[in-house]
């Protein structure tokens, strides 16, 4: 599909064809009080030279020479130039929704491969062609569970990403869902007793993140047994996909909501992201989002098509599983290329490096007087440490030494102002970790 501008003459021709005098008249059915009567508050148009100048200025704001220990849902991982080269091909970069299978086989096959990779990673049977991000995927998973169980109460781990919880609450407010939070236990994992006492026959779903927001790996199989005994569904959110290179896939979950940013998407300005929903075959009719399927053509050759489209709003608007019909096709393609380049062994090796470096960082930080790990549970590439003073103040000083400090847990958890969520990936070097530990030690030795 091409995007072509229209001339005033063509506009006039189109209006004449449908018997309307002006474009304005097309909106006459919308009551006046809902119409925008002033121009949008946007800056005026720029010339080509001005646009290039603008972006050069923005690019010059980038600072180099910093090391980062910030994760919390956005992760810095190695990425290959091959990924960018492939996704920037015009056939992919400007392609539209591949409704017409006979001219879209490349796009459809790439989507199908993305779905296959996501199923392999999550241990689920079917995955959609992507959602906006991990937060909307998690919310759509909850809405799916509501439709499947006919129940409205949802239990959410307090250790689910704070922004995922916010998005869920925004939806819940207007669709009759009750969302209750389950605290974490001393080891940082979900408090099994609190879960048990909140689990009754009216719970649609239990949502846990693994590794959770504090970095702690949850025991998914055990949780699944407890949740299933009450007739509820278990939703597992995965914010750091690389963890699946080492951890068991959450196959016991009924729905997996994953953020795929770690697979080949740079954390620039905090995005873009790519969410994905994966589930069991028997729930596919309630799965929102696009699905590509494999089939054969009239001559028996393998081909790909969009399938089960009656779930989507362009076929049945009022009965659609979701009214978000946009997906992140290009980001999903980046993830597909990235994972294909890495392969099974590559992903495992990458994950192993994350874990080893995080373990090294824990050991270095725990040598500092007053610094201790806050939770004893197993971690992957993020862990929580308790500092003897405010993390915000410490971070301001670290920044002066060209170190982007850990996530300030107090900004989302008022009870944890002295807790820092430290992230270490394969991109973090040993020297950077040692420099961070030394700087932190020096800062904490200074009087307040």
């Amino acid at each position: 599909m091409r995007y072509l501008p229209k001339s005033p003459a063509e506009r006039a021709q189109m209006l004449a064809a449908i018997g309307v005098k002006s474009t304005e008249e097309l909106f006459s059915s919308i009551p006046k009080k809902y119409r925008l009567t002033k121009p949008l508050n946007l800056p005026g148009p720029l010339s080509e030279a001005e646009i290039i100048g603008y972006f050069k200025e923005r690019a010059a704001e980038n600072s180099t020479g910093y090391s980062s220990f910030l994760g919390a849902g956005v992760y810095n991982h190695l990425r290959s130039v091959i990924t960018d080269t492939i996704i920037q091909r015009g056939e992919f970069l400007t392609s539209y929704t591949p409704y017409q299978a006979e001219i879209s086989q490349g796009t459809l096959q790439a989507i199908f491969e993305f779905q296959t990779l996501m199923c392999q990673l999550t241990g689920q049977e079917v995955a959609n062609a992507s959602m906006y991000d991990g937060s909307t995927a998690t919310t759509e998973a909850v809405l799916m569970a509501e439709r499947l169980t006919g129940r409205q109460r949802v239990l959410v781990a307090r250790s689910l990403h704070p922004e995922y919880r916010e998005v869920l609450r925004t939806y819940a407010r207007n669709c009759g869902l009750t969302v209750e939070e389950i605290p974490c236990a001393k080891d940082g994992g979900l408090d099994a007793k609190a879960l048990q006492s909140a689990l009754r026959g009216d719970v649609a779903a239990v949502v846990v993140q693994s590794p959770n927001f504090f970095g702690v790996v949850e025991g998914v199989p055990g949780l699944a047994d407890a949740v299933h005994a009450s007739g509820a569904l278990l939703i597992v959110a995965v914010a750091e996909g690389v963890s699946l290179g080492l951890l068991n896939p959450p196959a016991e979950a009924d729905i997996v909501a994953m953020e795929g940013q770690s697979f080949g998407l740079a954390p620039s300005y905090g995005g873009p992201f790519v969410g994905v929903l994966a589930t069991r075959d028997k729930f596919v009719r309630q799965l929102p989002g696009r699905l590509a399927g494999e089939t054969t053509d009239t001559e028996g050759r393998r081909g790909f098509v969009l399938t089960l489209a009656t779930r989507e709003q362009h076929i049945r608007r009022e009965k659609a599983t979701s009214n978000i019909c946009t997906n992140q096709a290009l980001c999903a393609l980046a993830a597909t290329v990235h994972l294909t380049l890495l392969g099974k062994e590559g992903l495992r090796e990458m994950a192993l490096q994350n874990l080893s470096k995080a373990e090294f960082a824990v050991a270095e930080l725990e040598k500092i007087p007053g610094v201790r790990r806050a939770f004893s549970g197993a971690f992957f590439n993020e862990f929580t440490v308790e500092l003897p003073r405010s993390v915000k103040l410490v971070n301001a000083q670290l920044l002066r030494e060209h170190i982007i400090g850990p996530y300030v847990l107090g900004s989302a958890y008022p009870e944890l102002t002295k807790n820092a969520l430290v992230c270490v990936t394969e991109t973090t070097t040993r020297a950077q970790i040692e420099k961070f530990a030394a700087a932190l030690k020096r800062i904490l030795e200074q009087p307040l």
Partner: protein, 133 residues
Amino acid sequence: MAFPAEYRYTKEHEWVNVKDGVATVGITDYAQHELGDVVFVELPKVGSTVTTGKSFGTVESVKAVSEIYAPASGDVLEANPDLQAAPEKINTDPHGAAWLIKIKLSDPSEISKLLNAAAYEAYVAEKTKEASA
């Protein structure tokens, strides 16, 4: 095309067969023929209620998705468990094995307002004539 004489029919092409206050509901031979190969059926949960003229489920074929409307009001006693795995039964035995739901009628007198076999057959004949005109 079959039009079982003991059944009653709607203009939306559902049939209903009443025995002892319990109505078995399905879609007609004509409906399955118009839909083509049925690939999916969505039915209400046992224990839920259906209301006359309101949609209680969907039948999806390779050509279209169609709502199924309740010919009468009542509580759902059974939903055909075989159709989830074998929706194509609707094409082979629409008036028999591929019944959709059984309902406990809240007002059995509603049934007399439905078309009898002869009236439905005439209605279908008219439809067919319109389509070929």
